[in-house]
């Protein structure tokens, strides 16, 4: 797997998670208290750093074939779930992921919650909201970087791609101080679903003992083939719902 492909795959997948975390932190900071929200971010990043320090070397020490089997299975499951949701959204069978609506909901919830000071944190609600959002989305970023990096034999590059994605999205979010609704998140999720499915399929099959024709180069065929297949399913579902609407 080329370094460029690894960087792009990890960057896009982590950017999607970072958009979701940034929306939560912005809501907590704007509606409640910035100091508490940013303390929550710092605490979550500290927990994530401990997890990376503990899990990084452990993942690196695992035998490659078994690692590829487990990681391939997980990526394939994640990829298919993402792709399924993205196809349902693109064909109009599921509401589009709307960061504006999520932001408004988080703001309304945050405004209603009572204010409680705990230790040096002025607003415990803003702290907890930020902490949970960054930790949960951050866990997904760590998982993506470690699994892609270890399978491609380049954890530092995968880590760099993840950090770049988080930095770019966070800087964008805090520069505009509003939800990142202009990021084409639904399109990004479609692309990431295709990539996770392709890499999951590739590594899962190799881990299970299969050999791809052309080895790593088969990924160059897998990614567009899955994209065409997914777009075909979108067209088919759109036509189905249009026919149903006409009949009604």
């Amino acid at each position: 797997m080329g370094a460029g492909a690894l960087f792009v795959a990890v960057f896009l997948a982590c950017a999607v998670e970072a958009v979701e975390a940034t929306t939560i932190v912005l809501a907590a900071g704007t509606a409640r208290d910035w100091r508490s929200a940013l303390t929550g971010v710092t605490a979550a990043l500290a927990v994530l750093a401990i997890l990376v320090a503990a899990l990084g070397p452990a993942v690196d020490a695992l035998p490659l074939r078994e690692l590829r089997l487990v990681v391939g299975a997980l990526l394939l499951i994640f990829g298919l779930q993402w792709l399924r949701k993205a196809i349902l959204r693109a064909s109009g069978h599921k509401a589009l992921h709307d960061e504006d609506a999520i932001y408004r909901r988080q703001m309304a919830d945050a405004a209603d919650a009572p204010r409680r000071t705990l230790g040096s944190v002025p607003d415990w609600y803003a702290f907890t909201l930020s902490f949970k959002g960054v930790l949960l989305e951050g866990l997904e970023v760590v998982f993506i970087a470690l699994t892609f990096g270890s399978n491609a034999g380049n954890i530092p590059l995968a880590g760099l791609a993840a950090l770049c994605a988080v930095a770019v999205v966070a800087a964008g979010g805090f520069a505009v101080r509003s939800p990142l609704s202009r990021v084409p998140e639904n399109t990004l999720k479609f692309v990431v679903g295709i990539m996770l499915t392709a890499f999951g399929m590739f590594w899962g099959a190799e881990g299970a003992g299969a050999h791809w024709p052309g080895s790593d180069a088969s990924l160059l065929g897998l990614v567009p083939a899955i994209a065409v297949f997914a777009l075909g399913l979108v067209a088919l579902l759109r036509r189905g719902s249009a026919a149903a609407a006409e009949a009604a």
Binding site: A73, Q81, R84, L88, G204, G209, A210, F229, S241
Partner: protein
């Protein structure tokens, strides 16, 4: 005690949602597909095509079930 049980339950609910997601059939299908790939790879028959074939069946089936429920 009740809080501990609740937290453990919350953790497993998070884990299920994180790993399995909206359609458990996809997770079961992937595990079955990998087991089949492993079994076929032990023989002289090529096994690489099994997962793409699985995708061609599993994804449309899951979408069909999802749209039928609506």
């Amino acid at each position: 005690m009740g809080t501990v049980v609740g937290r453990v339950r919350d953790f497993f609910a998070f884990l299920y949602d994180f790993v399995v997601g909206d359609d458990w059939r996809i997770a079961v299908g992937v595990v079955a597909g990998l087991a089949l790939t492993y079994a076929v790879s032990r023989t002289s028959v090529p096994a690489w095509w099994l997962l793409p074939a699985l995708l061609a069946v599993l994804l449309p089936a899951s979408l069909w079930l999802a749209t039928r429920r609506r």
